[in-house]
Symmetry: C2
Subunit: 369 residues, 2 copies
């Protein structure tokens, strides 16, 4: 769709800005470290594709040993499937009949699981799976403290699990027990406590199910912030971190403790200085359409004197203390929040030792519906 | 690239969510009102394509009488040109030699103008235009109070204008005199004052140029917030509003006075209630990848009791006072900021009298480089 922003073998100076770039050494180390962490704990790793929406990255995660991938939308699942991913868990509730039919059609050709938190959706899923002649795996979305979606009452979860199990074309897959607010808790002990409480809440629900004879094939959840704790407590049987491949300013503010595992910043926005007309700042060519501002301003990589202070659609104003970048100079920005930043770009440019090694299509970008 | 999210003739209930939708009656009224306002003032209207990045919308603006369009990047200009737009002003500075060559190649086939605020860029533009055998129109980016990019000193502007005029393949096009911070000033008199001061600053520069024999073919600037004042003062000869076709929550907070012109909300994010598991809120399927949060939370259209309170990548939590939406119900959200929200979507679905009348490709979406 888009012309390539970079040629293989080129340098940073050859890349059209703004561009999403990936430090391949750090990226690969993050994948390897996450795989090693989860394998040591005996917990399945199912990385979250919502962080990247890029089948090349999903394939790198699978090649390292991940059991499959997560995504959040039927559109993402379709794009991942088209691009060769064949074990996909939509870690989200899907209620629209048309989307449920698309999901069932996907399940004819690949392993697909999805979540429910409302009994009225179960007959729609069953009818679509029957019509497609396939089996859809269904997990119950449980509320383990996020108070967003999901069922908190264990008896309610058990009733819904029985409901699913009674359907000929559905297979009860277990519990989706994710707690988003724990991921960005700054204090490592408070974060660990939230992860612990999530595990306790999920285990309590699992115990109620077990007491009524329902076996939970998996309990899945966790994210980049809590994954080391999740592996330590082992209440979850599967973790679904996403951001660890990239990191961002927000994750860098999570403090670590001796139980934590460190991942490194691999994702950057390459930008160029386009105006030095003012004395106290420079203007670069990346703005609201190059990085997301929901978690605050980006930072300039490896340049402590440079401070982004104001962002507009296509520009960021960078206050200069000490060294002042030149007109045309390229800077690397660390985005505030990786997932919605990555979703702005059609390509990610992989760099190693200062050279462009890969240009990957973000082939599930924009697939929100 | 993407499957269509809606079929012509369908209803809101048939559209896959989240989706960008356009109330065609309001959209057309906005275009007509802006055209009428500028024509009455004798000021050229060159709408800003950065707001929509959609050639179908640009064509609707041109059909109503706009003199051409603005954009911010060479990538946008290329996409607009590919899709039939032939008078394009890049109201931004471009300094990268590779981009300057792309720009000159575009100017071989269409009318292209661009801004400079640094003398070092002029020989690059001249060389590229000479090589392409074409003429590029160059405006001087002046700082009329935004303190972002641009030159504030009139003598500096005059020197740069002479520099441009001395180049065989460049044509001096005038002044780009935009003031972004005025557009969102809430108080209508304060906003009017900022527009006035912008006009005074631009006129002062123009007078210095005139005194040295330099004729300014146009003075362009203004935006949706100040356009009525800009038309009233007539210091600018061309205005470049963008958001007026859509509006957003942020613009709705601008107070109006008797000198103001009212535009109406035409842009919405269609979303669906996907969870009613909690007692005090519902969860809808639009989040950070469906609307931009740089200007704050979206609002729910025509539903005063419903209040978005928390946003994550794919969800918005909506607190319910009084009436509670049903599972599967569709709601229309008004985004906080239209430009970066529109840039998240590949399609915009036009609705009239509750029916889908058009599905337009956002064919310059993502063209930031």
């Amino acid at each position: 769709m888009s012309a390539s922003l970079a040629a293989i073998g080129g340098t940073l100076g050859d890349i059209a800005t703004p561009a999403l770039v990936l430090d391949l050494d750090e990226f690969e180390a993050n994948i390897e470290n996450m795989q090693r962490l989860t394998e040591a704990a005996g917990i399945a790793l199912r990385p979250h594709g919502k962080a990247h929406r890029c089948s090349a990255i999903a394939k790198a995660q699978l090649a390292a040993g991940a059991v499959g991938i997560c995504c959040q939308t039927v559109g993402e699942a379709e794009r991942f499937r088209e691009n060769g991913i064949d074990d996909i868990f939509i870690s989200n509730v899907i209620v629209d009949p048309a989307k449920i039919h698309r999901l069932a059609r996907l399940a004819m050709r690949t392993k697909v699981a999805v979540c429910v938190d409302d009994a009225r959706v179960v007959p729609l899923l069953e009818a679509a799976a029957r019509e497609a002649g396939c089996t859809v795996e269904v997990l119950i979305e449980v509320d383990v403290g996020d108070h967003r979606l999901g069922i908190a009452d264990p008896q309610g979860v058990a009733a819904l699990a029985r409901n699913v199990s009674n359907c000929l074309h559905l297979k009860f897959g277990g519990l989706q027990a994710y707690i988003g607010r724990a991921q960005h808790e700054r204090d490592p002990l408070a974060r660990r406590n939230l992860a612990y409480e999530t595990g306790v809440a999920a285990t309590r629900i699992n115990d109620v199910l077990a007491a009524t004879g329902i076996v939970c094939p998996r309990i899945t959840g966790g994210g980049t912030g809590t994954v080391a704790d999740d592996c330590d407590f082992a209440a979850l049987t599967e973790v679904q971190p996403g951001s660890y491949v990239f990191l961002d300013v927000d994750y860098s503010r999570n403090q670590l403790c001796e139980k934590s595992v460190r991942f490194n910043q691999s994702l950057f926005i390459l930008t160029q200085v386009v105006s030095v007309a003012a004395a106290d700042h420079v203007i670069c060519d990346a703005g609201l359409k190059a990085f997301s501002m929901d978690s605050g301003l980006p930072e300039v990589h490896a340049a402590p004197g440079l401070r982004p202070v104001r962002v507009s659609d296509e520009h960021v104003k960078i206050a200069c203390g000490g060294v002042r970048p030149e007109l045309g100079e390229r800077l690397l920005l660390i985005p505030g929040h990786c997932d919605p930043t990555v979703n702005l770009h059609d390509q990610i440019i992989g760099l190693r030792s200062g050279r462009v090694e890969s240009v990957w299509a973000m082939d599930a970008r924009g697939a929100s519906a």
